[in-house]
Symmetry: C2
Subunit: 127 residues, 2 copies
């Protein structure tokens, strides 16, 4: 691993300094991941609203299959386990569905007499 040039054995001060530096990198990556996830959910919420307002079909299974294959391929390229990439995608998709259900409930509370603005059913949502 090119990243790894080890401190001398027994040099615990150097090892701790390296540990704290790597933790800073992990924290930076985590902040970037959280902000990107936030941005992703803005886009998927937008898609839900756009489709509902224009009568477009909420789900697109072909698109989802392409997404998964692409993520598996990107994972393999970057030495991330493709199985994990797919599990991770499904985990994020579950949250997208959760958002759509919440949106549907909010619409239901706002206007129980009409379902014109209702969000799509949870099993039919584009991730």
């Amino acid at each position: 691993m090119a990243l790894y040039y080890a401190p001398e054995p027994g040099d615990n001060e150097a090892a701790l300094a390296r540990l704290y530096s790597v933790r800073e990198s992990i924290d930076n990556i985590d902040a970037a991941l959280v902000h990107l996830l936030a941005e992703r959910f803005k886009f998927t919420k937008f898609v839900g609203r756009l489709k509902a307002e224009h009568g477009l079909p909420p789900a697109d299974p072909a698109r989802e299959r392409v997404q998964i294959q692409r993520l598996r391929s990107l994972a393999a390229e970057s030495h991330l386990d493709p199985e994990f990439a797919e599990k991770w995608f499904n985990f994020v998709v579950a949250e997208v569905i959760h958002h759509h259900v919440e949106a549907a409930e909010a619409v239901g509370e706002r206007d129980e007499a009409s379902d014109a603005d209702a969000a799509p059913a949870s099993e039919d949502i584009e991730p």
Copy 2:
């Protein structure tokens, strides 16, 4: 939502054009997320190796509590559900543990007579 300036009702061509554009943005974000996750796992693998080689304690529960609180706070700032951010962190941590278990098994196969290089037990790992 500032992002959302809607195509005219009934203008399905404009709605589809907008949809395809947003999908490109989602795909870009997903690629960035996968590459950042790959980078994060490089760092956590490095930490596991550094700690094993220098006899540093594998787990640091105080560090983990700080990580979770920080991610919840970053999520709130960026309008991401803090509960989701914490669930997401735990999901990623489960994969870190999986890596460490695999590493321990690999060491076990390589050198059954010695556990000097063994990875830490799955319940004691720094995420």
